[in-house]
Symmetry: D2
Subunit: 347 residues, 4 copies
């Protein structure tokens, strides 16, 4: 019987196009520390994708990408506003605070994983930016797709950016699942980011079919040299960086990233549709990208575990758990059916 691993999209394999490019690269020698031909191509390729001049810092982990960016964006006495479910605050073991000693995160209340500009404005208006005793709000961090599987629209991003910029904050976007958002919204990457005011995007590829590849995209004429030196001293300039760069280039070539994103989104949609017909479980957040959150009673959790499926469960409502399932580029219909079958058999 099929055991569906829906625990996270980082449990997936590597998509064939990327693997093939890596294999080709593995048979070659190449310059180290970003002097190779793939790495030096990154700025051009991503500038084309984003319809403006950008600078790209390729790193191996999403935590590194976020923490590096926030370190460069906020002073040590700064404060990063984010949602109360933001990955940077809940799941990175203090990485932003480690990279930028003294900097605080300010988790603001969210709804379905999203911040509103009203919440941001209200917080900023209440902040005392004259006292020597108070950290200074410096950055607004948005996650797109959010940690609840929902997606900020272009208008929502515009409004949030405007609220933050009215108080001189910079905007960081954690785009670990940016591909899922772009392919779901059918908006241009530029419209979802810098055109609304995003200053730095952490563009994720690992969850979307790469092996280890994330790109920090600088939309302003930042000094990428400073980023690189800081990346080096935090251990994030890999000597064989070319293998990260080739993953990133392949990912954005011929729309592979959107294809993979769409595939994962479609599987999540299928799962949602199928779960809706199961009594006893209830979908909790709108399914807009590749994640499905549903509540389930203990016997269903037990059954899913017994059947060997992968998923996350956390305390929710009374005896019920909140289950998170995530589809990836390599999730199959058979996976979905097997998973739903386990749910249904206990419902």
């Amino acid at each position: 019987m099929i055991k569906a691993n829906l625990r996270s999209d980082n449990n997936a394999g590597v998509c064939p196009e990327i693997l093939e490019a890596m294999i080709a690269e593995a048979h070659r020698k190449g310059d180290s520390y970003g002097r190779d031909s793939h790495s030096t191509e990154l700025n051009r390729a991503f500038s084309e994708l984003f319809e403006r001049e950008v600078q790209v810092i390729p790193v191996a982990s999403g935590t590194a990408a976020n923490a590096l960016a926030l370190r460069m964006m906020a002073p040590s006495y700064g404060m990063v506003l984010c949602s109360d479910v933001a990955h940077i605050g809940t799941d990175e073991a203090g990485a932003p605070e480690f990279f930028n000693a003294g900097c605080k995160l300010a988790p603001l209340p969210s709804v379905m994983g999203k911040l509103t500009s009203a919440t941001v404005t209200s917080y900023l208006e209440m902040s005392d930016v004259t006292s020597i005793n108070r950290s200074r709000p410096s950055v607004l961090s948005l996650t797109e797709v959010t940690e609840r599987g929902t997606i900020y629209t272009v208008d929502e991003i515009a409004s949030l950016c405007a609220s933050a910029k009215a108080h001189n904050l910079s905007i960081h976007m954690d785009g670990a699942r940016f591909a899922n958002a772009v392919s779901a919204l059918d908006e241009s990457p530029a419209d979802l980011t810098w055109r609304q005011g995003v200053d730095v995007l952490c563009f994720g590829a690992t969850k979307n079919g790469a092996m280890y590849a994330e790109a920090i995209i600088l939309f302003r004429p930042d000094s990428s040299v400073e980023y690189e030196l800081f990346a080096k001293q935090s251990g994030h300039v890999l000597s064989k960086r070319r293998f990260i760069s080739v993953q990133l280039l392949t990912m954005i070539q011929d729309g592979l990233w959107l294809k993979n994103g769409k595939t994962a989104n479609a599987k999540a949609a299928l799962l949602a549709t199928r779960l809706e017909s199961c009594s006893n479980v209830k979908i909790v957040y709108p399914v807009q990208a590749n994640e499905v959150f549903f509540s389930a009673p203990p016997d269903i959790i037990d059954k899913l575990n017994r059947d060997g499926h992968g998923f996350q469960a956390r305390p929710f409502d009374g005896r019920n758990k909140l289950v998170r399932t995530v589809a990836a580029f390599d999730t199959t219909e058979a996976d979905i059916e097997a998973f739903v079958c386990s749910v249904a058999s206990e419902s």
Copy 2:
């Protein structure tokens, strides 16, 4: 004509055995953050290799491995003794100092890249460990193979460790090219490390045919949980860690690491032999592993550059430069011949 890339062993490709294992893994799903079957196998496999119980933290870069280890080994008011040519001091852009805010490196004079126990003892005896104003010597860091291509013998390591431990220091070994040392000396990994007093070894694989794989090996019952949490907050717990782990496991399986090390060493020996017959260049340090350092006049440097060979050159003696060449597992005899041919044609 062949352009030999001897700039560094991190300019090499990926060796076939490791690539094959990675490809197999790429077609599978697997648990993230080290819960996969490869990662959980690391402790056992390396314990066998080192003939004692060890704990393994797999990371993607050598700088990360060294900086993480030194952070865990020294207090913030500590001092890490190392040679004046140590990679941790000269080529990591302050990574050890960043990971461990306040900690200092103390570069001691070296000969042919090596520290002597007399130097270490003398420094420690002169250190004031009673004043509140002085950093405390806490760790001795040795590089094996050294940054000058020489190798500490077992006796030298024993003596250095004894000197340091007499003053309660811990011992760190930067083993970016540990495979080259072990295969050259024909000693056991245990004899070169913990049996002499080494507490933590950074076991390199990237320079030896892996794509991105380094292992921090803890020889004492350290809490690997603390290492992991700190690795996470510095961005060094990759979500798809299994791809690092599979590289490391493959590397130490069936002696692949020693085979690759021997191959590279042999190519360096060949290069050294061939260069000895070239007038005008002069080998500067004993060639004991996979690196050959030689002095060369400007016209030879120019010729090597014109012919497109890869190497490093730095100021040396008058107009002469010091050239560093490094052989890797995939360096060919043809590479060597092409390189020597360029040298000879100008000599």
Copy 3:
């Protein structure tokens, strides 16, 4: 007309006994960096006061005391639980996060400035201490007197410590106004601290009539050497430390600290009594120590400002402000009368 400065007890002068001791010291030479006779007397004197062996680190600011202590108590991947109004979180501009890069504060909901053990237990039970992605709860920080002017009883401290220790946390007490608490409760310093489980107390003197003197009191056999080295490297070992030490010794001699605390508390009580008879203002938190919080409409705020009184006001309920007034050892009845007179004239 008298302008009452009730803005904070750190707006006070220096009490005569301490000033006299400082003057005597100013006419002498003395050893530096804590080797003087006053500094070396601190451990004995505070051990007597606390009825057990303690170690004392004297520093010049309360922020330094708290941040140093928390740095030594929590690992970088740790989390410090505190109330949502804790001074360490709201008024130290990120000092705890700066001293301990990576460490987070977890602000928990409080009532009248106080945490309950139920809140602490519930938070700890919900914490995932197995995931590599989560910071580890490490320290519970209590403020005594709280930031709302209320005082934890011995039983409350006992209960909070028990809840925290059940999950292996250490206990930090921010005692910037510890003297006010002890003199109000009429409990022994020991009963309010280590006998209930407090591990480290930051014993404040500056707000209680000293010029610049705070003592970190270590109740466990911590290595004060490590504290001192870290204090040095954060710039907090003053060369003429003896002037801090003589303030601390004088403060605890013959119960001066409790006398000053009682005086300030009595003035706050007087103010509270007098304000209760003013219509239009309303005391908001129980007045247990030397602070009085009351709500007041804009015209009263304006009048107080016009009359030149010192106080803090922040947004509260609709148009009303929350006013904080703090009495010190040198607050006079005339100050209180002048302040109340201004309030009453607008009520």
Copy 4:
């Protein structure tokens, strides 16, 4: 018999003018965190002294002043060039490295405590500022008076600043004994600092008769707000800052700082003259300010210890020790005579 405490000028008392001003302040209330009338007067008073607009950050310790300044002046991947005997490198237990995680000191060879511009230029020309692996030289730090009691002339400072600025470094001056230098050279403070290119001066007062007072002087239009916020988060904004400010204002009023400096210098000169007539001891460095370094055999060291005099001794030449003696504003001729008498009786 008189026991002369010549161990350091931080073993001195507090000079009468400053003590008097502190006592007056102690009887008053005053605003906290630098909003008081003394603190707000600092910029004006020091601007007048330095003949240009400056910003002043008053702190309690010299280590804090230096570490704060260097943190603001250098990036984390930066390098601070200093002499190999610089206090910031040898006697601050890693404070500069703690305040600025990742930043390195580069100790350069000095003669009689002084750097030369040739040494600085040569180091900078050899530095690779293109490699991602190398820290970037960012600041030159000069100590005036040097740690060997010698004084840089205006021309030497000009030349050193020019060498550093040619490579885009900023200039920091550790002026713990700046008063001794200015009063010895009879140059204006401006000529010794910003007119030659110094960007930030740490102006010491503690060693010159204050109790705890150092001023960071910013010569460029730096954002003092950023300095203050960082000072706060490192625990260096004292709540009763007014007591530091009043010390600084009194110190520079009516030339008190120069009077104290001259007095101390004169006592050192007297000591030097008297020692010259003692056989068996030999003055080692030119006596230009308030420090006298001399070599002495063990029996003299023993005699000085037996007689209870204060001084520092460290290993020197064979059995001889290097003795450092420091005169302060309150060193008396009787102290000098008593000290010399002890030396002479063994010579």
